[in-house]
Amino acid sequence: MLVVGILLIVAVIAWIDLPRLWRKKQKKDLSVYLILLLIGTGLSIAEGLNWDIPNPMDWLIYVYRPVGEWIFHQL
Amino acid sequence: MPQWKRWSRNKGRQKPMSQEKPDTVWLKSDLTENLLHIKQSFGNSSDLNIREIFLDRDEKICMAVLYMEGLADENQVQHFVIKPLIHDENNYMDGYDSFLEYIKMRVIAGGSVQDLHDYHSVYTSLLSGRTVILSEGIPRGIAVSSQGLESRNVSEPITETVIRGPHEAFCESLRKNIALLRWRIKSPNLWLETRKIGRVTGTNVAIMYINGIVNEKVLKELHSRLDRIDLDGVLESGYIEQLIQDEKYSPFPTIDNTERPDIATAALLEGRVILLVDGTPFVLILPVVFPQLLQSPEDYYNKTDYGFVRILRYISLFVSLLAPSLYVAVTTFHQEMLHTTLLISLAAQREGIPFPAFVEAVLMEFIFETLREAGLRMLRPVGTAITIVGALVLGEAAVQAGLVSPAMVIVVSITAISSFAIPSYELRLPIRALRFLFMALAASFGLYGIVLGGITLLLHLTSLRSFGIPYMSPLAPFNIEGQKDTLFRFPLWLMKTRPRLISQYNRVRQQSTGPRKPDSRP
């Protein structure tokens, strides 16, 4: 149900911009658009189904936490 | 692009523009043939009057006087065309290279005379009420002005009323309307261009502006948009409006209309262009900005009120747009916002009401809108009765029956009253429609929905342009000078310039200083 809903929304969204991009034959625009749309769809479905998605925040925390703690320690 | 749209576009392309001049067919020298041709063209319509006259005693020079019954003034035709022709004792004198020229210069007593060479111009002349004179042996004709269509007299405006200010409205006749404006602006700089629009109706459309004040860019844009129009008939200025407006699907008017000559005059003086269409008292004003729709001419005529009323109108705009949705949002989502006592009394009123607040609101608004519509279309004497029955009896009974809560009736009434405080009828329409949308938003997301809806509305409004002028100016883009005549109306002597974006040259409108007390010292 949820997946269908997401796909429906994606379809509506694609209906807005895709035909024009297609017609104009701008390959680069089109490919960037499609890649982003795909990422978005995948991400929302994964999130909707509660799959484990690698959290970019974890990476940021991994990189910056020592720095942050160092700064607060200094103060 | 969806398929159906492509088809419809192709269909449009099939018919080429074929409007004003088909192939020119020149007048013949044979009068009988000419007359026959004309008669046939009109399908022997009986209101085409043809009077044949012999000009000389020898009955050699046969002439035909043609006019449309009703369009031309019979009196004028008789006195200024037929009578001089018949009583002409001098007959044909030498010195004029053509007989027709002689008639034109010496005989005809009409005000304006025009040469005709082809059938098409004969038709247009006849149909505009002129009298056409054709003569045997000459492949030309002349048209004498004799327009005399009975039109409504100048009367009081019905849609835009004021207490103080001229009680005069445009009427259906283009000529009278132009005269009304000429009379107000006695300057040769008031320029007028006319063109015919409508393949079949050939309606006269006049563009008026004050040269030197008007924004040339707007004028140019207007011309190009008018050129693009290709339709069979123009019945009202609304036709033109819908075809030349900026944003196709916006519910908000980007072109204003008025039936008051004083408003039109003011618009001209601000550097706007007005568009008069024959056959309707409503003239178009463009470009228009949003704050303008909340102005009334009386703002300027009354001395004491420097904008209090205008603020009131802005408030009523908000109220008429948002009152029911706010009520729904607050009573179904944010009860914590209400004062305890108020909440208890509202809750008591809601006891036993079968519908949720949203349905109640929609129902009441719907009934009210129907009532308003019915009142508009109803015969005037019955209209009042319906209003009374509808508003008073129905409202009272609905409350008594426990179908709606009294508070809801109050909210709907306030909404209705506020909506009437918006001066522009054109603006009331989108507000009315959006009200329902906001109610739906409020019913599903409470205040959050209203805020988001409001932001979307603002986004839409700010993205609009009217002939290149940002719709929300001078609020956004903000212009400090423009504030003198936006939310408040500053004293007249402080409003020294014209609106900035609308008239780009010749900005200074007055240099007068404010009223002064007389110097007491000698």
Binding site: L36, R65, L75 | F333, Y448, V451, A476
Partner: protein, 367 residues
């Protein structure tokens, strides 16, 4: 240029101001008060000074490249591929910021306003409007901000004036009880908000008088941070540091305290609405900047088609980034160093490098 719109100096000022106030108006007080307690207002006012310096630095950068956005000139300054990489990281920074703020909006609304409505819905609806704004372009965003601007002031003034009777100066005492250390910590939290202003470098070139963008920028930044400082002061003065520090959204609680006579009470919606306005402006600008930046990065013809796909990603991302509210508090520690990378390190290095390149290796045209 992808964006043809131009905004006026005043509009730029308004944008900057609303951007600074943004989400901070409801969060900043809690950040500074948690570590600096009753001295939080000092942290905030120090932050105003720092904002001034930052604004000057950013506008120097903007002045050096008056026709280009940060994404465009980083390619020139850093070289093609390195520049692209940096730009991409910068865009992700903006985008993550955008997603975080979207989460804030959803979180606040579900806690205080729309109990029971799933956070996905509130977020989607919000981003729908943001996407719409972005599609309409910078001109429309700027004009809308101009229309919202007076409302923000009016609501802010109502809030401040109506709380005046409840100010208790004792709440500020003692001053500097714990020394400067907590104040500086509070200041770091405050600064993390201000540093996001670097995002406006993506809009710098669209000011219609490029030479004059500096003044409104500085003015907007200083006035905006001052508003935040005043709100922080009010929070301390009215609620006291104790109550304020246990609240997640102290400004909202502050508004609950308003009670004048019997008629002006229960008006916390004022704060919520003001916050929705400023937050909307900030998210729109961030979203606009990231879509525009992405389009510029890939040299696309138009950024508009990217808006909807990015919108979906933003909705999903905001839910992925913050699996639970505790996580959200967690992010505060890393947010300052993360922001600082792009808001301090990147501009400074870019400035230096561009100066160096101009001196010794003049940039070739058409690079």
């Amino acid at each position: 240029m992808i964006e043809r719109g131009k905004i006026s100096i005043r509009q730029f000022m308004v944008l900057t101001l609303l951007f600074v106030i943004g989400d901070a108006i409801i969060l900043a007080p809690s950040h500074v008060i948690i570590s600096a307690k009753q001295d939080g207002w000092i942290s905030a006012w120090i932050g105003v000074g720092e904002a001034l310096l930052l604004a000057v630095m950013y506008s120097l950068l903007g002045k050096r490249f008056p026709q280009q956005t940060l994404v465009e000139y980083s390619e020139q300054v850093w070289g093609r591929w390195l520049g692209k990489g940096i730009s991409f990281l910068f865009i992700t920074y903006i985008f993550i910021d955008c997603a975080l703020m979207t989460y804030e909006a959803g979180d606040f609304l579900t806690i205080h306003f729309l109990m029971g409505t799933p956070i996905e819905m509130t977020i989607s609806l919000f981003l729908l409007v943001v996407v719409l704004a972005t599609r309409l372009g910078i001109e429309t965003i700027a004009r809308t901000s101009e229309l919202l601007y007076p409302w923000v002031w009016i609501l802010f003034l109502i809030l401040i004036v109506s709380l005046f009777p409840q100010v208790e100066m004792e709440n500020f005492q003692p001053i500097l009880a714990e020394g400067f250390s907590p104040i500086l910590k509070g200041n770091v939290y405050f600064l993390a908000n201000v540093l996001e202003l670097v995002i406006l470098l993506m809009i710098f070139p669209y000011v219609n008088q490029p030479g004059k963008a500096r003044k409104p920028y500085v003015a907007g930044m200083v006035i905006g941070t001052s508003v935040l400082a005043v709100i922080s002061m009010m929070t301390i003065a009215v609620l006291g540091a104790t109550v304020a520090s246990i609240q997640q959204y102290p400004t909202y609680i502050l508004a609950k305290k308003i009670s004048i006579g019997d008629f002006l009470e229960r008006v916390e919606a004022i704060v919520a609405i003001m916050w929705l306005f400023t937050l909307f402006m900030k998210i729109s600008i961030c979203f606009y900047a990231s879509t525009l930046g992405l389009a510029q990065l890939f040299r696309l013809n138009d950024y508009r088609p990217l808006t909807f796909p990015l919108g979906i990603i933003a909705v999903a991302l905001s839910l992925v980034l913050i699996p639970n509210p505790a996580f959200f508090n967690y992010t505060h520690t890393i947010w300052f160093p993360y922001s600082a990378t792009f808001a301090l390190l990147l501009p400074v290095l870019t400035l230096v490098l561009s100066a160096v390149r101009k001196r010794w290796f003049p940039i070739k045209k058409g690079m």
